[in-house]
């Protein structure tokens, strides 16, 4: 039981990751697919930050009287990944806007039907 409580960050990460993956696979709506990708992305952020945790460690900012700090490297990677994630989401939404203008729909099946590509 203690094992399950001690690792709860990982369980949350895996649940979020699978929710995101399932949304990307099962939904035909392109906006819902982007939402699924974002949920998946957040789970990766959470996984990195969890891996950097040090037992009893403070935030990695040098201060008087603090001996143990968390690992700063995952924080750095995720700091830039969040901003890039926002930019790529905006690009994906821009593409969806153009698809809507061209095809008149954002459902994947209907786009395939219009293109005769399936």
């Amino acid at each position: 039981m203690e094992f399950f409580i001690g690792h709860y960050n990982y369980w949350v990460v895996i649940i979020l990751m699978m929710v995101g993956l399932y949304t990307v696979i099962s939904r035909g709506n392109l906006v819902k697919k982007i939402i699924g990708l974002n949920i998946f992305q957040v789970s990766v952020f959470f996984l990195y930050i969890s891996l950097g945790t040090v037992e009893g460690g403070a935030a990695p900012i040098i201060a008087e009287g603090v001996k143990v700090y968390s690992n700063p490297l995952p924080h750095v990677l995720i700091l830039t990944a969040i901003v890039v994630g926002v930019a790529t989401t905006a690009l994906a939404l821009a593409l969806v806007v153009r698809i809507k203008e061209t095809y008149g729909t954002i459902e994947e099946d209907e786009i395939h039907n219009l293109d005769h590509s399936l």
Binding site: G6, H7, S26, G52, P60
Partner: protein
């Protein structure tokens, strides 16, 4: 059918990840490089915030790459959306509260954005976070007044200036006979506002670039909406 296979795939992958994760220790990371950076960075870089000293000191060229990705995404979104003609009147104006609340909160957002950028080497925060707040400050008036436009020419001048100054600071280190983007001039006390040499300057450049790029991205999307 697709839902069933998707559920099976996600379930199986989740079970595999569970098996891997249960072998990972929580709270005692196997990575030793973090400790090495913590003990070396105060002397080598001089920033109280270790995250900042890694972002701009040890991995400065990586941050330049991230800025390039951000620039590519912003310009690709602009390219995909094309030139839009804003038609006023198709969208309802924001109400009294949104209109005046936006005007009231604008200077505070600007102040807190610049505060976070300037204290990036001392406190949690920095150019990326402060830049997003600056972008929000300039985007808020667009929500209140749908017809209003951001001046894209001014934004691109700010963005170009910030990107160029980031690279010029990096080249200045080369001129001093050091590596590209290596931090310089850090003979100040740890934790003071003016310390850590060129790091705050680099973070100001990052903040202005992120702010300008996100503001132009958001205004592109907002103008698209107001057309339809």
């Amino acid at each position: 059918m697709r839902k069933l296979t998707g559920l099976l795939f996600a379930g199986g992958l989740g079970f595999m990840l569970l098996a891997i994760a249960s072998g990972l220790d929580f709270g005692s990371p196997p990575m030793r490089i973090g400790e090495a950076i913590q003990s070396a960075s105060p002397q080598e870089v001089g920033a109280a915030n270790i995250v900042t000293s890694v972002v701009l000191g040890y991995r400065g060229i990586d941050t330049l790459g991230e800025l390039a990705i951000l620039f590519a995404a912003a310009s690709a979104a602009g390219l995909v959306l094309g030139r839009r003609h804003t038609t006023t009147g198709t969208q309802r104006k924001g109400g009294f509260v949104l209109f005046h609340g936006g005007a009231l909160i604008f200077p505070f957002l600007l102040t807190i954005g610049f505060y976070i950028i300037f204290h990036g080497h001392l406190t949690p925060g920095g150019g990326f976070q402060g830049g997003v707040i600056l972008a929000a400050a300039f985007f808020l008036p667009l929500l209140a007044r749908p017809g209003a436009r951001l001046h894209h020419s001014i934004l691109s001048v700010i963005e170009a200036f910030a990107g160029a100054s980031f690279i010029l600071i990096g080249l200045a280190a080369l001129g001093e006979g050091q590596a590209f983007l290596q931090p310089m001039l850090n003979q100040d006390t740890l934790g003071a506002l003016i310390s850590a040499g060129t790091l705050p300057l680099l973070y100001i450049a990052v903040g202005l670039k992120v702010g300008a790029e996100l503001a132009s991205l958001l205004s592109n999307l907002a103008q698209t909406e107001s057309e339809q």
